[in-house]
């Protein structure tokens, strides 16, 4: 494509690197966002939240990082291959839990057979599938954002 937008991007990026307040605030916030994401993920059984929300919150940490430090640095943190792997791994984890339930003699996505005690099995199954949901949603959001933001480069 033309040279001018790229040059403008360079200028913007350099400007961004001088914004100390933004960078330091982001550095402070990102661990907090991630911790909150994990809390929402694993506390979804007891309070509001679950895989979908946790995935989005977790993804927002990566998106903030890429916004502040530049998309190239963001891409270094989470390479396209890793993102694609996580994207499918979450869905496969969900579907896989269903298949494991089938192999153990239950119906597809019936978690009661995952452990000796049906209640423990349900708990385990829900934890695992919520984890799958979270991984896929986070990877999907990060992927979509990175692809949109990185139209100048090669995905």
């Amino acid at each position: 494509m033309s040279e001018i937008p790229k040059k403008m991007d360079e200028v913007k990026r350099k400007e961004m690197q001088h914004k100390e307040v933004l960078r330091i605030c982001a550095k402070l916030l990102i661990p907090l966002i991630m911790t909150f994401g994990l809390y929402v993920q694993f506390h979804g059984d007891f309070g509001p939240g679950g895989g979908f929300q946790a995935g989005v919150i977790f993804a927002s940490a990566f998106i903030l990082y890429a916004l502040i430090f530049g998309i190239d640095v963001g891409m270094e943190v989470l390479k396209p291959g890793v993102r694609r792997f996580l994207l499918s791994a979450g869905l496969l984890l969900y579907a896989g839990v269903g298949v494991v339930g089938m192999l153990l003699g239950g119906r597809y996505l019936n978690y009661s057979v995952l452990a000796d005690d049906p209640v423990v099995g349900q708990h385990l199954g829900i934890l695992l599938i919520e984890l799958g949901v979270g991984i896929t949603v986070a990877a999907a959001m990060i992927t979509i954002f990175y692809v949109f933001a990185n139209q100048d480069g090669v995905e």
Partner: protein
């Protein structure tokens, strides 16, 4: 909400429209909290107000932030939209009142979920137990939708640029206008 919805239709500057749709989502989230649907409110705030706004801004950065075609009112479409809206509002008149314990939705499977959920899954949050266990298939479908969306974005704009970059590197062939 009504004000921001009307402003959404009115504004021509797409940046303002994106910001307004974000605030619309946030207001909707507050409304859900008021209605005690914290899980839905959480999702609306995170996805509707958060990620959707960021993605819209990303799209604006790729395109322009001004609407291209001049505003014009197409009367047949307007009439169809108003008729549909009136029909929907007329439909809500027959609906039971909010939080009516005798509403059909509270009589069908909900009591069963509420009663059996905590016992069978050992999970205090009924929303999670319904979402993940009783409605496991639906949630699997939803995750598949999210996966397909990301895969579609990758296939549509993740790939095309790479090809373009490849062809840019090649010496241009005679008669090739692209």
């Amino acid at each position: 909400m009504v004000v921001s919805a009307l402003a959404l239709v009115w504004f021509r500057n797409l940046f303002a429209v994106v910001m307004l749709s974000g605030s619309f989502s946030l207001t909707a989230a507050v409304l859900y909290v008021v209605m005690d649907a914290v899980d839905v409110a959480f999702t609306e705030a995170a996805v509707g107000a958060g990620i959707a706004t960021v993605l819209m801004l990303g799209t604006l950065a790729l395109t322009t932030d001004e609407e291209k075609d001049e505003p014009h009112i197409s009367w047949p479409h307007l009439i169809i939209a108003i008729l549909t809206g009136c029909t929907l509002i007329y439909g809500t008149l027959d609906m039971p009142h909010y939080a009516d314990p005798n509403a059909p939705i509270h009589k069908h499977v909900a009591p069963e979920y509420l009663e059996r959920g905590p016992k069978e899954t050992g999970i205090p949050n009924v929303v999670t137990s319904v979402l993940a266990s009783y409605r496991g298939y639906d949630t699997l479908g939803e995750v598949t939708v999210v996966f397909t969306a990301a895969a579609g974005v990758l296939a549509l704009i993740g790939r095309r640029r790479r090809k373009r970059k490849d062809t840019d590197d090649l010496p241009s062939r005679p008669g090739d206008n692209s």
